[in-house]
Amino acid sequence: MAGEFTLRVITPNRIVVDEPVESVQIPALDGSMGILPRHAPMVAALQAGVLRYRGRSGEQVLFVSEGFAEVRDNLLRVVSEAGETAGEIDEKRAREAEQRARERLAHKGEAATATEAFDQLRAEGALRRALMRLKVLEYGSRDRVRS
């Protein structure tokens, strides 16, 4: 391994993660992206998704919502509105959100007005966040079984 770098996940409420890691996978806007130590300086937009990283205590997964990632001086800063570990995710709430979003999307066919299109977009975003949260949960429980 080419050493370590620092991962810092920052949300409006707190700093979720701040620790040395070996590798990180971030949900960039056009696909998952791997970051290794001594990555070139970069700014990337993130979509809601799963962030995986390998730290000193093994592989971890995290849910992040839309945000940004910035690499500079061997420090990866992930700035996102939400950052939750598997233990923090409310499964019931995520499932309900999924249900709601699905219903909303099923009812509406073609969006006729701008507001409708906007609502649809929002429902899609909500659906994505819910699904990603559930995915993190799934990974989290799988990791527990393995270890």
Binding site: T11, P12, A40, V43, A44
Partner: protein
């Protein structure tokens, strides 16, 4: 009441501190992107003054009274600004019942009165809501700029009503404080990979940036409110304690006087019988 305010003050203060890294990071990134955009920045609608004649003004006040001069200080600053800029046509956006009462009583035009979520239960989503309402108002083209009047929290004994320009971005911020970050970003922009590209990043950053500024303004106002309330409650408690001391002394003196008088009566009576 003083104790209640103290605990609440501490809670909001902690939250204000916790939100700072996020806000700084967003502001820094925005400065960074602005540096990359350079002169093209002026073409974006959120970065140039609006065509409208009116000015959108967000005023943050408290929901309840009993907080000293917190609200009246705010109104004074608003009034001063109004008298200095007679040409402006302000349309108000208000957070907090006190501000709504004050402004509507004086016949100002209030476009929107935010009640949900109540300031006390403020979270990031609430700030997001306010920010997008203001952004849409600005983009509608009715306003030339969007101002925010809030109370900046400097210390538990110092809170200053402040006016900042929210939109267009760049008029008031990324402000002087982030100027340094902007410069350093400019120097390093040449070799930074942007994923996917500047436009997309900027488009996503600006709303976040506005949200953090609103969130910060609301949180600081809330913290100031409780600091102010704590102070006025402390003054009230102190005044009441003093008054209690004075009254107690008065009461004891009167009581002693009566006892002495009665004693004298009895002694006098006994003397006379002998």
């Amino acid at each position: 009441m003083e104790m209640v305010s103290t605990t609440k003050l501490r809670r909001f203060q902690d939250r204000a501190v916790a939100s700072r890294p996020y806000a700084n990071e967003i502001a820094q990134l925005l400065g960074h992107m602005a540096g990359v955009m350079g002169d093209r920045l002026g073409e974006r609608p959120l970065f140039r003054p609006g065509r409208g004649k009116q000015t959108a003004v967000l005023v943050v006040t408290s929901e309840r009274g009993l907080c000293g001069a917190y609200n009246s200080n705010m109104f004074r600053v608003v009034e001063t600004w109004l008298s200095k800029n007679p040409g402006k046509k302000p349309i108000f956006f208000v957070y907090g019942k006190k501000g709504f009462q004050y402004l509507s009583k004086r016949g100002f035009e209030i476009e929107r009165f935010f009640v949900e979520p109540p300031l006390e239960k403020l979270d990031y989503r609430g700030a997001k809501f306010v920010a997008s309402a203001l952004r849409e108002a600005f983009l509608s083209g009715r306003f030339d700029e969007v101002l925010v009047f809030y109370t900046a929290f400097e210390s538990v004994a110092r809170f200053v009503p402040t006016r900042v320009t929210l939109l267009p971005v760049g008029a008031g911020g990324p402000d002087a404080r982030q100027g340094g970050a902007r410069d350093s970003a400019k120097r390093s922009t040449g070799d930074v990979i942007l994923e996917p590209d500047v436009e997309t990043l900027l488009e996503k950053l600006v709303p976040r940036y506005l949200e953090t500024r609103i969130y910060n303004a609301l949180l600081e106002s809330l913290t100031s409110e409780y600091a102010s309330r704590r102070m006025s409650m402390k003054n009230a408690t102190d005044a009441a304690t003093d008054m209690q001391g004075v009254l107690k002394k008065q009461y004891n003196r009167k009581r002693q006087e009566t006892i002495t008088k009665e004693l004298l009566d009895i002694v006098g009576g006994a003397e006379a019988v002998r």
